[in-house]
Amino acid sequence: MLNRIALAAVAATFAAGSAAAWPDKPITLIVPYKAGGTTHTKSMVLSKALGKALGGTVVVKTRPGAGSAVGVTFLSKAEPDGHTIAYTDLGNLIWNPLTKNDVAYKVEDLRLIAGVSEYQLALVTTPDKPYKTLDELLAYSKTNPLNVADMGGMSKTFINYMAAKEDVQWTAIPTRGGGEMVPFLLGGKIDFAFSGGVHQKHGDKMIVLASFLSDGLAKDPDAPTTQDLYGIAMPGNSVLITPAGVSDEIAAKLEAAVEAAMEDPDFTQVLQNIQFPKRYIPSSEISAFAASVTKSLEGVLASMK
């Protein structure tokens, strides 16, 4: 009997000790995108800032594939001891299990620690077109069928949703990211385009027609949002996540580390370079935020059917 109590006591101290000592080995930060992309670039500095705040080492590992689904699935199955975490975008995190049949994780398998920064998702065009605003574009589209560049998945669904609501004829042309979209748009091969934020690099050569972010764009706060017009918005947030089973104590420490990283000068510099604003969302708000995003995306999908 005594033995058993002693054992329980030892086990308890050990358990408490392990949480208190966390991180007692290097933390792996999974990035579910290819090395060199914006998410990976940000993660390289974020990992250093997190390591500084936690008093340990954070190692970035890329597990790219299937629009982040491969890496996020990997994380959802990892040991929930806080030594495996991931940094990714909230949009595809929610979109993938909603739309793809074989995605092996659910959003419930993950714990959202905090929001970190924001992509600048917008509808853009060039100044030489006969329309300068979304209203003018819609009016022009009534009589002229137009071609619009999408970047696959979510962006195409949103564009088709808008076209259906407004009863205009837009043909969504698939492009593989800004590197392909920009020359097509600047070269006049397409009429307007979806942009993940690359338009900010091109200054006067591109004008913003609408924002897909519910809160508007940092540089073009006056652009109308699809949230106001159609009640749908894309999540542009990047988030830090862990497997669902991670203890509250570790989650709280991670959240504090993200908050501290927000003030890190290197991280600030990188975000400035790629012109994506910081967007810290504490854990107390992020679940509600994710839920509202899920609802909005489900609404879009339901109405598309």
Partner: protein, 516 residues
């Protein structure tokens, strides 16, 4: 003047000790891979791209360019010494290089090969530097209509690459094209051939595919040959060098006396490099053939003529620089090596394509500067190490091959930390092995795979933008020009050349019959 200014800026950024060190290490590795049997610059690139994750973009590309340059000339060394070209593009080098070695002048042949290589390389780099910016400016005005026909045109090169059987070449290319369609459909995101495996959503990954079919399958095939050849007498020892050092010297007059051949071959290599899809091997044979036809000593080719070595090596090395022109201007890989370089660029956040000259001009000119520096380093390293490279020819296969297998696996695993990719590596090694044994061209397979993704997306963009009205391809001048070129090349390589060869064969049969 603009280019001169940019180049000066490029040298300023590129001329650092660290960068020079990366270039030199790249060249040394490239030469070693070129010397080792069955490997080559493509294998070296595929296996070493993952290492460059940890470099700065400039150092990474400089390193890879060094490998590419070293590998192309390294293959000449075993071709000269033991008549076993380390790389297919050096096959024509053996024709005149090996006889020279047997006459006791192996170093003379190796020096000639190296100097001609560096000459062709430098020539082609200068063309690249002059043409990259204007080509990119033109390419910026291209849309899906133009790009579709350019890639269609690139496919005709398969006919030239197919080797003996056009049908087998086409089958291999079609298989590559089919494999490139796996993964999510680019327009509707429908799953195609994913077999429910999430790892296949993005399609078949390039590295396991390229390393498996090109490198590992060649190693497997050689391992099989080793087993088959057990008990056979060991290969002949290296021919001894003449005791008279003067015999192995090459005077400037000997080398530059054939300046016409050097320039002709460099032009051929550069031209082949600019056209997407064509390879180094073709350039080598075209250069050799042209020199034999126009040289007054053409009938002596094959008996140890320096000119033959110069013609081959200048041509195959001249491809290296100019194949970056379509890569940089269009984002379409000129050949397998360029495709791997595109992968390396992308890893470092630089997307090849017409915008690259606009967004990353400084980096591009630093790379150009590094390429010119690499040529100088190549000359020095290749010359100084000439006795060392010879030693690599002696390393027995049973040590080289297993090491390469290990490097292939590591090279595939590192970038994604995925055992699925390692599985793909072995799968494609098996596919490549079967194709080799059955006489299907692996290069055609890989070219089909590389061009397939771009071709599909540009074609589907064209169909969507023009509302399925493809007559636009006939009214758009650029598209029409490339369509006509496509028809011409298909006719030339697919019908005219084979017919000629058939006639030549028939004629030689008749001649033989008559003499009997």
């Amino acid at each position: 003047m603009d280019i001169l200014n940019s180049m000066l800026g490029g040298f300023e950024a590129a001329f650092t000790l660290v960068n020079l060190a990366y270039i030199c290490v790249g060249i040394v590795l490239g030469i070693i891979f070129g010397v080792l049997p069955g490997l080559g610059s493509v294998t070296a690139l595929a296996m070493l791209v993952p290492i460059t994750f940890y470099f700065t973009p400039l150092a990474a590309i400089a390193f890879l360019v060094g490998i590419n340059k070293g590998g192309t000339s390294g293959g000449a060394i075993p071709a000269i010494l033991i008549n076993a070209p380390g790389t297919p593009e050096a096959a024509a080098t053996a024709l005149d290089g090996h006889p020279l070695a047997k006459q006791g002048r192996p170093e003379k042949a190796m020096k000639t090969a190296l100097y001609s290589s560096v000459f062709g390389d430098t020539f082609s780099d200068i063309v690249l530097i002059l043409l990259a910016a204007p080509f990119a400016a033109v390419a910026l005005t291209f849309g899906p209509n133009e790009l579709t026909t350019i890639i269609l045109f690139s496919f005709t090169m398969i006919a030239a690459l197919a080797g003996r059987s056009l049908v087998k070449g086409l089958i291999a290319a079609a298989l590559g094209l089919f494999l490139s369609t796996w993964g999510l459909d680019p327009v509707d995101s429908t799953e195609r051939m994913t077999f429910g495996a999430i790892h296949l959503y993005d399609g078949i990954p390039l590295l396991p595919f390229a390393i498996g079919t090109l490198a590992l399958s060649s190693v497997l095939s050689q391992l099989y040959d080793m087993r088959r050849d057990r008990g056979q007498p060991p290969p002949a020892p290296l021919p001894p060098a003449s005791q008279f050092r003067a015999e192995n010297r090459i005077s400037p007059r000997e080398f530059w006396g054939n300046w016409k051949t050097l320039i002709r071959s460099s032009c051929i290599g550069t031209g082949v490099g600019i056209l997407p899809g064509l390879g180094v091997t073709l350039a080598a044979f075209l250069g050799y053939g042209a020199a034999r036809r126009s040289s007054p000593r053409g009938d002596k080719f094959g008996t140890g003529e320096l000119e033959g070595i110069q013609a081959t090596e200048a041509a195959n090395s001249a491809v290296v620089g100019s194949n970056l022109i379509p890569t940089i201007a269009l984002g379409i890989p000129g050949n397998v090596a360029a495709a791997l370089l595109i992968g390396a660029f992308t890893i470092h956040g630089v997307v090849p394509g017409p915008l690259m000259m606009v967004n990353h001009a400084e980096l591009i000119y630093s790379i150009f500067a590094s390429m010119l520096m690499a040529n100088l380093a190549h000359l020095v390293i290749g010359r100084v190490g000439i006795r060392i490279w010879v030693q690599f020819v002696r390393i027995p296969k049973h040590i080289v091959l297993p090491t390469v297998v290990l490097l292939c696996v590591v090279g595939v695993y590192i970038p994604t930390n995925s055992m699925f990719d390692v599985g793909m590596l072995f799968l494609f090694a098996g596919v490549g092995y079967l194709m080799r044994k059955a006489g299907f061209s692996i290069v055609c397979l890989v070219i089909g795979f590389l061009l397939g993704e771009n071709f599909e997306i540009y074609l589907r963009q064209t169909v969507l933008i023009n509302k399925a009205d493809l007559t636009v391809l006939l009214t758009n001048p650029v598209s029409l020009a490339f369509l006509l070129l496509t028809l011409f090349f298909a006719w030339h390589f697919g019908i005219r050349v084979p017919l000629k060869q058939k006639r030549a064969r028939a004629a030689s049969r008749e001649a033989r019959a008559a003499s009997d």
